[in-house]
Amino acid sequence: MENQKTTEEVARGIRRRVFEHSMRNNGGYLSQACSAAEQLAFLYNEALNLGQPTLPEVPRPFGGVPSADNPDYVTGAGYNGPFEPHYDRLFIAPAHYALVAYATLIEVGRMAPEGLEMFNKDGSSVEMIGAEHSPGMEVHNGTLGIGLSTGAGLAWGRKRKGEPGEVCVFMSDGEVQEGQTWEAVQAAAHHGIDNLWAIMDVNRQQCDGAMDSVMEVGDIATKLRDFGAVVVEIDGHDLDAMRQAKAEPHEGRPLIILANTSPTQGMSFLQRRFPRLHYVRFKSEEERAEMNREIAAELGIAPIDYGH
């Protein structure tokens, strides 16, 4: 698809949309937009080779789960384009980044803004934790740690079939606490799966708070290298660094880009909430109004009219 906006503009748009949505809906995954906006903008706007969406701009309602009795079932991957051999495939491994991913789809013209109005509404396919049938999703990743394994399997299969398209996994750093992540890295290295790459949002946050207080994971880069990956560490808000990292040669090994990010980037008001940033709810109407004023000003937009 032809880019309508610069990647910087897409990233700004992601933060604005997630902020607007969270103000109107009394909370949301704000910090994930802060840390990951550049990464998702980079993936959709320039890094991935994706075809035109195959699903309607306004998402269809929930159409049932996969079963032999539901032949019309489709996943949400159609928003990333068709399954052609030369196109890339993307997995959003931390499915709770769905709100950020949906905002990205809108910013790059793959989903209508109305799609976000359906977020977390009963009967909608635009689910809070991205499901297989949610826009932009291809598998269930709500259970953290399974994304890289699935990507590795698909990448091995695509390589075997001679498909030029790559497999990309967007990951979160909390996933390195799951043993499966390490099983996946060692398997990808052992089998020389080098059409697989990942970008990990290293925001040092997880549900309970700062990762160091929940479970220290040590030096992620060294550990990943020891398990056989090629690793590049960058400032996750620096798009030029991201472009360079993607170009890193990784023959015979998976590439994992560690994007060191701030969970309050672009919304510094949220620092008051540190370290409880996983899902931001407003503690009072006063706080909601203050946050609206302050963050809107930082984002360079007018305060959101949320009906008060």
């Binding site: 032999a68 399974i146 399997g153 996946a184």
Partner: protein
């Protein structure tokens, strides 16, 4: 005397897989234990060593399914669902990937004790939406389970027998078609896997004692053919005994009980198998006797149902030869 077949899975899998390049052979460090070492050596390009890492293996297989392959995962049955249950659900069962889960050493067929004995696999697998569950009861069914599994449009879990396996049947396993091994009118006996051989032994003695047994052998546990089983249940006088290499909770005994209850059919039912207990390490005959899963346990259950002593003891059962069932009622005829 019954023919014993050595490693029927090994030959059957190789024969099938080489003709189907989209079939892949996955192993988690139990390659010779699952009889695929020869396949690995002769067809390394179709073999993927996944190491002792079942969680990754199951999600990885889901990814292979996305790429259009049909992975056959080989390991002990217990390792396919206990540790990687989450991955089984999210990466294989939910999206209906055509992953073939070949579970070796079902129930007490391993001396490996609790950690190696899949005693609740049927109850787990049959409650997973989209899953099909097959179980091989003899060498012919082991040979046929490869192609049968690969015919399933979705994931399938198979209880597979390895090593030296008796040949009891002369027609291949057909998904959804149970075998009617005898058509008696006193009691209905339902078995699957290794318990079918036990029931055949018991039948020989029971017939001599004048007890008329109707015997069904199941190889398709899900979907469960409740209608056919109910039709047979209606034909017997005293009731039903299920005998399974599994906990009685959640397995064939439970499925039969559900079918009877839903149909409102008032028949007595005795469920033989592991009774809410773990097993321990030991030989198969020892374990089957210790836990009441053998021919003698079946005879005693039938005596309870009919209210008549048969006079059959261990010696009588040992004397009964297990003949191939060529002469019994053919499944095809029913």
């Amino acid at each position: 005397m019954v023919e014993m077949v050595n490693r029927p899975y090994a030959g059957a899998f190789e024969k099938y897989a080489v003709q189907h390049p989209e079939v892949l052979c996955l192993s988690a460090d139990l390659t010779s234990s699952c009889e695929i070492d020869g396949f690995r050596d002769r067809h390394p390009g179709q073999f993927l060593s996944m190491g002792m890492a079942e969680q990754n293996m199951l999600s990885f297989a889901g990814g292979l399914g996305l790429a259009g392959f049909r992975p056959f995962i080989h390991t002990f049955g217990v390792f396919l669902y206990r540790r990687p249950y989450d991955q089984l659900m999210a990466s294989i069962a939910y999206p209906r990937r055509k992953v073939r889960l070949m579970g070796f050493l079902p129930g007490v067929t391993t001396p490996g004790g609790m950690t190696h004995q899949a005693i609740e696999d049927i109850s787990i697998m049959r409650t997973i939406p989209n899953m099909t569950v097959l179980e091989a009861g003899d060498a012919t069914e082991v040979e046929g389970i490869v192609e049968a599994a690969d015919s399933i449009d979705g994931p399938v879990y198979c209880r597979v027998l390895r090593g030296s396996v008796p040949r009891l049947f002369d027609s291949p396993l057909k998904v959804g078609e149970l075998r009617v091994l005898s058509e008696g009118t006193d009691v209905l006996v339902i078995t699957a896997g290794i318990t079918t051989e036990e029931a055949i032994r018991a039948r020989g003695a029971l017939e001599k004692a004048g007890v008329s047994v109707r015997h069904l052998h199941l190889n398709t546990l899900k979907p469960f053919d409740a209608a056919t089983i109910l039709a047979h249940a209606a034909e017997v006088r005293h009731g039903i005994v299920t005998l399974e290499n599994h906990l009685v909770a959640g397995g064939i005994g439970s499925m039969t009980a559900e079918a009877l209850a839903e149909a409102g059919m008032a028949k007595r039912l005795i469920r033989l198998g592991l009774q809410d207990t773990y097993a321990h390490g030991g030989s198969r005959p020892y374990l089957m006797k210790y836990y009441g899963m053998d021919a003698l346990a079946l005879v005693r259950a039938i005596e309870e149902l009919t209210g008549q002593q048969t006079g059959i003891g261990e010696e009588a059962l040992e004397a009964v030869r297990v003949d191939a069932v060529h002469s019994a009622v053919k499944a095809e005829a029913l």
